[in-house]
């Protein structure tokens, strides 16, 4: 059984016009973010090949509409947690791409001073609490910030991203139960890209419509076309409203597809080139671009100008990362591991 027959995904890009009242500036911004993620990550792949970037590199290419649409529904003061495939969410949340590229280069100007790398982008000032690398385990942290906000009577909503593969482990069920039990403002966004690494959805999950897993908790849930940025945004806005109004959490299942391997090392034995090619023909960025032009909201020349600007920004990010310093050894002393000063007497490692 091919993935396509197992998982029908709604057609994208067939809406005759933008949703009523959609500001052209917003459409342009969504498009800008999607292209920035795409170009940033193409550059990441290139830099990985040149060994400027090490470790695991999980690209979001193909899934941009999901992250951009979902994050666009959030306000300042809201929170984001995500998994190791975190570049898209970070860029959508407005993290500085210079700092992101520097993080990948392991430089001190990186978001995490070069200590985290690709899987651990974070910016506390934007309440982007980070990319986490233990599948499904960060969902509980997200429920925790929602609890903290609720107890402090703050209006924040926490959005947490994870894959289809994260919905089989115990943490997923613990998180959904806690969130629904205590009516916490969490929007769970499952990015169903049909594979957990190389294991197809129907091989890893007894229920392949992930949103139905919320039924066990009486939780509101919706399956949406995550490849259509506007559809994704609308669903996220509904979910965020619901959560913010105190009615409890929502599970969104965003149907999407990654065009690249699971990580840069993946040789993709588990799917055919043809499958991927067929999917690429519905590239969410291309589809959205055609929509924008067809709707006459934006001129082709403006799009091209935007795309050039983005290329320049990405190139500048590489220059910035290249020119930056490496982190200092203070980070590998015992004092670098704690927020509070500590003494170890006698010291270890001859510190």
């Amino acid at each position: 059984m091919t993935q396509d027959t197992a998982q029908p995904v709604a057609a994208v890009g067939d809406a005759p016009r933008p949703p009523d009242g959609t500001d052209p500036a917003l459409l342009m911004e969504l498009y800008r973010q999607m292209v920035l993620i795409r170009r940033f990550e193409e550059k990441c792949q290139e830099m990985y090949t040149k060994a400027k970037i090490g470790g695991f590199l999980h690209l979001y290419i193909g899934e941009e509409a999901t992250g951009v649409g979902a994050v666009s529904a959030l306000r300042e003061g809201d929170h984001i947690f995500t998994h190791y495939r975190d570049h898209g969410h970070a860029i959508a949340r407005g993290l500085d791409i210079n700092a992101l590229m520097a993080e990948l280069f392991g430089k001190v100007t990186g978001t995490g001073k070069g200590l985290g790398g690709s899987m651990h982008f974070a910016d506390a000032s934007k309440q982007f609490w980070g990319g986490y690398a233990l599948v499904g385990c960060h969902l509980l942290l997200a429920v925790g910030t929602a609890l903290g906000d609720t107890m402090q009577r703050k209006p924040g909503v926490t959005m947490v991203f994870f894959g289809d593969g994260a919905t089989n482990g115990g943490e997923f069920y613990e998180a959904l139960n806690f969130a629904q039990l205590w009516k916490l403002p969490v929007v769970f966004v499952c990015e169903n890209n049909l594979y957990a690494m190389g294991t197809p959805l129907e091989v890893h999950s007894s229920v392949t419509e992930i949103y139905r897993k919320a039924a066990a908790f009486d939780m509101r849930a919706e399956r949406v076309d995550g490849n259509d940025v506007l559809v994704m945004r609308e669903a996220a806005l509904r979910a965020v409203d619901h959560a913010r109004s105190g009615q409890g959490p929502v599970l969104l299942e965003a149907m999407t597809y990654r065009f690249r391997g699971h990580s840069a090392q993946d040789v993709q034995k588990y799917r055919s080139k043809e499958d991927v090619e067929r999917r690429r023909s519905g590239d969410p960025i291309e589809v959205f671009r055609r929509q924008l032009l067809a709707w006459g909201v934006i001129a082709a020349a403006d799009l091209r100008t935007l795309e050039h600007t983005i290329d320049d920004q990405v190139e500048a990010a590489v220059q910035f990362a290249e020119a930056s310093d490496e982190p200092g050894v203070e980070w590998i002393r015992q004092s670098g591991v704690y927020a509070a000063a500590i003494t170890v007497d006698p010291p270890i490692h001859g510190e």
């Binding site: 995490g112 200590l115 385990c137 509980l140 429920v143 609890l147 903290g148 115990g170 704690y338 500590i342």
Partner: protein, 322 residues
Amino acid sequence: MPVITVREALRQALHELMQDERVFIIGEDIGHYGSTYGVTAGFLEQYGAERIRDAPIAEAGIVGLAIGAALVGMRPIAEIMSVNFSLLAFDQLINHAAKIYSMFGGQMHVPMVLRTTNGWTQLSATHSQSFDVMFAHVPGLKVVAPATPYDMKGLLRASVADPDPVIFIEHTLMYTVKGEVPDEPYEVPIGRSALVREGRHATVVTYSRMVHLSLQAAEVLSREGIEVEIVDLRTLRPLDMSLAIESFKRTGRGVVVTEDWQSFGTSAEIAARLYEYGFDYLDAPITRVNFREVPMPYSKNLELKTVITVDRIANAIRDALK
């Protein structure tokens, strides 16, 4: 000074801490049930269900939520009923609590406390373990295991005030241990050991409940003319060996007493540091007293042969003096 139990000392500290609106307690059976060991009995009635959160039996969740809440300004005190159940939360503790500060380059920190308890009394193999070494192994965590009511109160306050994640280890067989505790609030600093008995013949390095058994062994030996010095580490990470090493340099003989398995256990690390820093003063091999290395048996007969007794400690000290 009033003399109270460890349980009372912990309750005092928690009552004081609850005056801070940011503090809340989350754990299994801490509220409606009245708390497994009585520490938070009556808290639900006094502080309400929002701050005394009876949690589902979901240890990863309890710890994960506490970490998340700590990130946004709360001061959560998570309780895991027995340290044996903390295994289900190890991922949250090690991969999240211990990592968030440094992995993200110091942008955020996790001021949470996990209270949990070691102990045994015919609870057999799965309910009688100690994982002190597993917590203390991990950079990014702080681990305290006090022995006296005074230190329980002072260290619990210090743990909640601390900006880093702290594992606070109690002991089921210590809740009724009594000691002097001032009524007023005070803190005992994390990462400072204490000299609890002076002596010139041997140095016993220990912590938690074993401090009390070591003191009893010292009294027995005192009648034989042997005077042992006892150091209570109080904190396992960051580890303060300064007093222990200083004492060892005077006595030349060391005994390490820890209530866990010997191989790769806390006593191995403590003994290694004594050797590293006291080698030139060594008059005899350092001896160690630990649990026998087996899953804890149920039968009282076998259990008592598996755990540490005053006799076993006294014998180990005699051995160190040979």
